[in-house]
């Protein structure tokens, strides 16, 4: 048992943190968020630095995701590496150089969905809707989950594509924007057949979701850092407010939540990586993923809300950047499976186990 980062892992994390801190100081993050745009120019540099290397281990990706959350890294890295990369890997296909995303979610309250049909002369055509698709404005291609007569399969659509309409869906977190995609006979390439489509999609969501748990830890750490810096500097009644127990102890409790979430998200990353190599038992990986998501969401939301309390009137303003991290925390708290569903998974596992 060795649950400590190696020197190489630590170096990777420090290098990522330094790169992001230099490129995205909080005022730049606030400006990008205000304008609701990303930083697509960063992509060649990310590739050059190896952020998208297919050989990167899952713990390493988890550490990058942590730093992304800390910095609110405004690129399509997560959509590409978190969601699209595992699909390409399962398909045995090489990743194209540009950023990608994955579209699988149905419109709530509709029976919309997306269907695929073989086209005359080869290839496939997609018709239907996918919503809450992340980073669409940044990517050069979309992977789409669509129903075929044999079941759910995964397709690649290169942008721009015929018959595809993109409608932005404005989001609470303006740094990870989403869009609704409508397909009308849109040409697509079959990537993963219906034999394994459902399974590959579930694995990709878990891969991406594990990285989001790591990202949530980074969000929590940043909120805690903003709050502790403020608590050390802001003077009221003649003392820095961090010298009052009512303030200090709230921050200590945030730290507790951050550490629990750090442990569970790194463990989940390690296990998901081991599962990719066929070296972990599903009965262990599934619950570990759920535990990480629940703990990390709680840590991110709690750390941000504590920071909002500690930073007082300053934290309540638009100009103080904390709310961008809070918005990301709320985004993470809601995206994909709800926390209640993860808890239900865990209750099933715990209550089914032999006494």
């Amino acid at each position: 048992m060795d649950f400590a980062l190696t020197d190489e892992q630590r170096d990777l994390q420090v290098a990522a943190a330094r790169y992001l801190a230099d490129r995205y100081p909080p005022d730049r993050i606030a400006a990008l968020a205000d304008a609701a745009v990303g930083d697509p120019d960063a992509w060649p540099e990310l590739r050059r630095q190896g952020w998208c290397d297919p050989e990167l281990g899952m713990v390493e990706k988890g550490l990058l995701a942590q730093e992304n959350g800390y910095a609110l890294h405004p690129t399509a890295w997560w959509s590409t590496v978190g969601l699209a990369q595992p699909v390409h890997r399962a398909a045995g296909a090489a990743m194209p150089p540009g950023p990608l995303t994955l579209a699988w979610q149905d419109e709530a309250g509709t029976d919309g969905g997306c269907r695929a049909a073989p086209a005359y002369g080869g290839g496939w055509r997609l018709t239907g809707t996918r919503c809450l698709v992340t980073d669409v404005a940044e990517v050069s291609g979309v992977l789409v989950a669509a129903d075929t007569p044999d079941g759910l399969a995964l397709f690649a659509v290169t942008m721009p594509a015929d018959g595809m309409t993109v409608t932005p869906q404005p989001t609470l977190d303006r740094l990870r924007r989403t869009a609704r995609l409508r397909f009308a006979d849109t040409p697509a390439e079959l990537l993963v057949t219906a034999d394994t489509g459902r399974q590959v999609l579930a694995a990709a969501r878990r891969h991406g979701g594990t990285l989001l748990a790591c990202e949530a830890v980074g969000v929590a750490r940043r909120a805690l850092d903003l709050a502790r810096r403020h608590a050390g500097q802001r003077v009221q009644f003649g003392r820095p407010i961090g010298a009052y127990q009512a303030v200090a102890h709230q921050l200590a409790d945030s730290y507790v939540a951050v550490e629990l979430a750090t442990s569970l998200s790194l463990r989940a990353a390690w296990l998901v990586g081991a599962a990719d190599r066929g070296a972990a038992d599903e009965a262990e990986v599934g619950p570990a993923y759920a535990e990480a998501v629940v703990a990390a969401r709680e840590a991110a939301v709690r750390a941000c809300e504590t920071a909002l309390q500690v930073t007082g009137g300053l934290g309540a303003t638009w100009e103080y950047p904390l709310h961008w991290w809070y918005r990301r925390a709320l985004w993470l708290d809601c995206f994909d499976l709800p926390t209640a569903a993860h808890l239900a998974t865990l209750a099933r596992q715990v209550l089914a186990a032999p006494a």
């Binding site: 060795d2 502790r228 050390g232 961090g242 629940v294 703990a295 209550l351």
Partner: protein, 380 residues
Amino acid sequence: MDLRDTEDQAAFRTELRAWLAVQVPRFAVDGSGTTPGWTKALHTAGYTGLTWPTRYGGRGLSPTYQGIYAEESALAEAPDHINVIGLGMVGPTIVEHGTPQQQIRFLEPILSGEMVFCQGFSEPDAGSDLAAVRTRAVATTGGWRVTGEKVWSSYAHQADWCLLLARTQPGSERHPGLTCLLVDMRSPGVQVLPLRQNTGDSDFNQIVLTDAFVPTDCVLGPVGEGWQIAMTTLAHERGTFGITLTARLSVEFGRLVRTVRELGLTGDPTVRAEIADLHVHLQGLRWTGYRAMSMLNRTGRPGPESSILKLHWSVTNQRLAAFALRLLGPAGILDSPDSSAAGHWQHLRLRSRANSIEGGTSEILRGIIAERVLGLPRTR
């Protein structure tokens, strides 16, 4: 990073588990675990002093093995062994700060269970504020005469020796002027009285010292530097203790799941949600404990993450105890063997409130995190 036991660790764990499966029932039947017999059995089997240096009779293993031992023995509900303070706290402190004569005299008997230790730190007026210690030791021919009162001392009624913190410099205040003494509990002037807790149990004692004589060769570390020695002792306590606490919590959690089943509540959605959430916190503690242990292995010191373990364990154990008792419904008022789980939850509900007091109050622990980990200004 590798979250699995190595081959050697797995073998150690398997062997230990098998040994505990046979031995724990033998000692649990009559509650004789809290006698030197259990420590002797552990010693004979080679499970004492796992991390002690080999030249002092230990096995010189890494903290991981101590972690495995702590985890497996708690999961097996092994008795609290009587010399836990000697093995876990006093022994390592003597290794670090003792004279060669003290090492020869005390270490081997601590390992074998012949010398049972207790600890005399807290006093009626020195609880969280340990530097307010008032027990005084006055220099006399060949040693010191000690007078004062110590409280919350586990095992003092069974102990042969006590590691005592006393004020040796008259008129001194706070941290300077304190000294650590090794006190023979059979010396004239040493009296042990049980403290009765609000559960009705007596897990702790009061030690009253009246002019008790401590010879010079029983001073541990330099005179006047008792505070530093006491801190070493407490640091050793925090090594793999988080793993023990978490494994005990995991035993309680298993019991809670059995209670849920017995009461036919497995289909209740609020019960399911609480069970799942408690499980997440338990797992968070467990893996943070492993992370802290791994840092200890790497650097020889527990990392900052270790500071949350005792704090969050107490929060979670209290939450579990409150939830469990409420599950019983009106039967929760019963305090007798015919209540569900034989009154276990009633007892745990009462006992768990002290979890956020003993071994560092939650207020003190949050203060330590705020100041030493988060770098906030001192709150006092």
